[in-house]
Subunit: 392 residues, 2 copies
């Protein structure tokens, strides 16, 4: 096991009606003027924003609002938010939504404490040193941004999607009511579950040996997510399935299941190019990229892929031919993704084969030697080969 | 799944040589005068205390020291610690040791911010409202006190052992080097592993339905602990086995594996009487009590005990006779405990059958109706019956 540091200071409030405690929770954080940042009108129409407003009013906390957060959140809205925070002297930002509202809230929080252009943090020109406190009322189980150290923003003009990892990215408060995602279309629930699984898998596929504790906890979590996703997609009003998915979204991405090991994240980097170019949901993009990535790399560590097949999908181990077991695990994963309604080919996603070389070239090379991914470092040629597998 | 709140703000620094960062980590917490609280002379002789002192000196942090923490930590030492903290104007307490040093540090921290007798917090007369900041350099994987919300102290004069649950009980910093427990006797390593497992099992055996995510993560963690304990007891210098156990000690008791469910804790309450009366290691007491508790209660939820048997010990499910599977799981657990050198009967522990009624009568009745335990509430008669099973 590798040395590590770990700290998730987020205060979680989980369960039915959790959003009604927003005012009390934010008051305990010292909030006096809150920016409520959300997406479309559904949060207003459903009455959620109203419940949050009343909860803040009951504690004497003032607020302003900014809607318009979209999937693959844009820099343009972040600039608006920063201006609003400064003008209104906001001292706490509350995202209401999924990863998009939370990620743009994080960028607004950092940017409003910085004299330069917030994009500096995302293109590697600067490192954020401080931020405004922020929290979230989660409405979608997916990105895990409610307690992760990551934040992803898309520069609209250049269609460049970039992530920022920083301990400043941790929410102070995460308010999680599993009833809220019940009204989402099944396709979005499935995209969320795919994202959750991918967050665990990016950590699970590692070259680090002797990481049995986290391996087994991760396998348990993946098994539970697969089970809950199958239920929730067919029966979105099943509270318990939604509850497993919502808590899994947090556990999957706050590094509870990633400490002490090399992680990959190559599939995420490739997916960023897909969703930046075609504006597809992140989860759908991952459903296409991850199985292709698995097929391309499985020969480099057959036993780990066989372990995944046996422990997560209950495949029988073929002791004479572990490769067959490894491959069977990937097929089971593809079958699961199909079952919950996910695309698994570029065509189904609406992506074009002729864009593959450009996407491969543009994918962020985040290793010092110009490769992508921690467990199995990839050149642009490797990335192209992964995308060709997805073009089936 | 039940509604819950959860917050583990502890900053973890884990791995080889982690204690050399003590000074930096405590400086970041604002410490200027530290009480280093440890157990016997072994921490001094091994050079550990010296490394910590040098690390503090390098950051210009002053310190005073208090040794003498013992298993089943005593109130008498807590009073000494409180006096020392006040006299020396200490602003941070650093425990160096296992659960005993950490628990007495917690009690000292709370007591030094309170005008009355600190025992008020343990006998239910008062609730702690504030505390001094404290942290730990862990030398033993067991109690999980490095990030749990619990603290257990024994009142020496009355041989009364009482626990306090409070969010104020969370360490600010936990410094965890898996090399440090390598020099412990195998018996102590086994006691620690038994304690870790018991912390997961107290949470695992629940009446709450539809808690699949945490069930499966807990099953994975138990499987890994059992595997690592078998290795570490035979080969204490196996870094990876010690690393799994050390991180498991934290995960097992900071409620990562307990959110959203009714928990039991009856076995812990019974064990407190055993170790208060005979001064046996907490882990050894749990090795005796828990299997007896399982045998007494398994008929109330056969399927959950069968699930434990199948998923944790790999027993084959007997679909015609689930009780046989449930029982087989308990036998496997007893066999595992024997294998790592634990006692499983009162006799082996040196406890006397004639003390059973008194222990049963004294066991803390922590339910409003005067029963003990959350999942399967027990009267004094039930507790006596559990102890009779252990008297074999």
């Amino acid at each position: 096991m590798k040395n590590f540091t770990h700290c998730v200071p987020t205060q979680f409030a989980f369960g039915r009606g959790a959003e009604n405690d927003t005012g009390k929770l934010l008051k305990a954080q010292g909030a006096t003027k809150v920016l409520i940042h959300f997406g479309g009108g559904s949060a207003v129409r459903s009455g959620l924003i109203g419940r949050i407003e009343r909860s803040l009013e009951a504690e004497g906390i003032a607020y302003v609002e900014l809607g318009g957060a979209q999937p693959n959140p844009r820099d343009t809205l972040v600039y608006k938010g920063i201006e609003l925070v400064r003008r209104e002297k906001v001292d706490f930002i509350l995202a209401v939504g999924g990863g998009s509202a939370i990620d743009s809230s994080k960028a607004i929080a950092h940017g409003s404490c910085y004299d330069g252009d917030f994009w500096d943090f995302f293109c590697g020109k600067a490192v954020p040193q401080r931020t405004l406190p922020f929290g979230a009322v989660l409405t979608m189980s997916a990105a895990g941004s409610e307690s992760s150290n990551s934040c992803v923003i898309t520069q609209e003009a250049t269609k460049t999607k970039r992530g920022l990892s920083s301990e400043l990215n941790r929410c102070r408060v995460a308010i999680m009511n599993p009833e809220l995602p019940m009204t989402l279309p099944p396709y979005q629930i499935a995209c969320g579950a795919t994202d959750i699984l991918a967050h665990i898998m990016e950590r699970y596929f590692t070259t680090e040996k002797e990481v049995d504790l986290i391996d087994r906890m991760a396998e348990g979590a993946m098994t539970a997510v697969i089970r809950a996703a199958r239920i929730a997609v067919k029966d979105p009003y099943n509270y318990d399935a939604q509850a497993q998915l919502m808590w899994a979204s947090t556990v999957a991405h706050n590094n509870t299941l990633g400490v002490g090991r090399v992680q990959d994240w190559g599939s995420h980097q490739i997916e960023h190019e897909l969703s930046a170019l075609y504006d597809v949901p992140h989860g759908a993009g991952l459903a296409v990229v991850f199985p292709a990535w698995m097929r391309y790399h499985m020969h480099k560590d057959v036993m780990r892929f066989a372990q995944f097949a046996v422990r997560v999908y209950g495949c029988e181990m073929d002791f004479e031919n572990p490769e067959a077991t490894a491959l069977r695990g990937i097929e089971c994963h593809e079958q699961f993704l199909r079952e919950i309604g996910m695309p698994i080919t570029l065509k189904e996603l609406g992506a074009r084969a002729e864009d593959i070389p450009a996407m491969a070239a543009k994918t962020r090379k985040n290793n010092p030697d110009g490769t992508t991914g921690g467990t199995f470092p990839m050149t642009a040629q490797d990335i192209e080969a992964v995308l060709r597998i997805a073009d089936r």
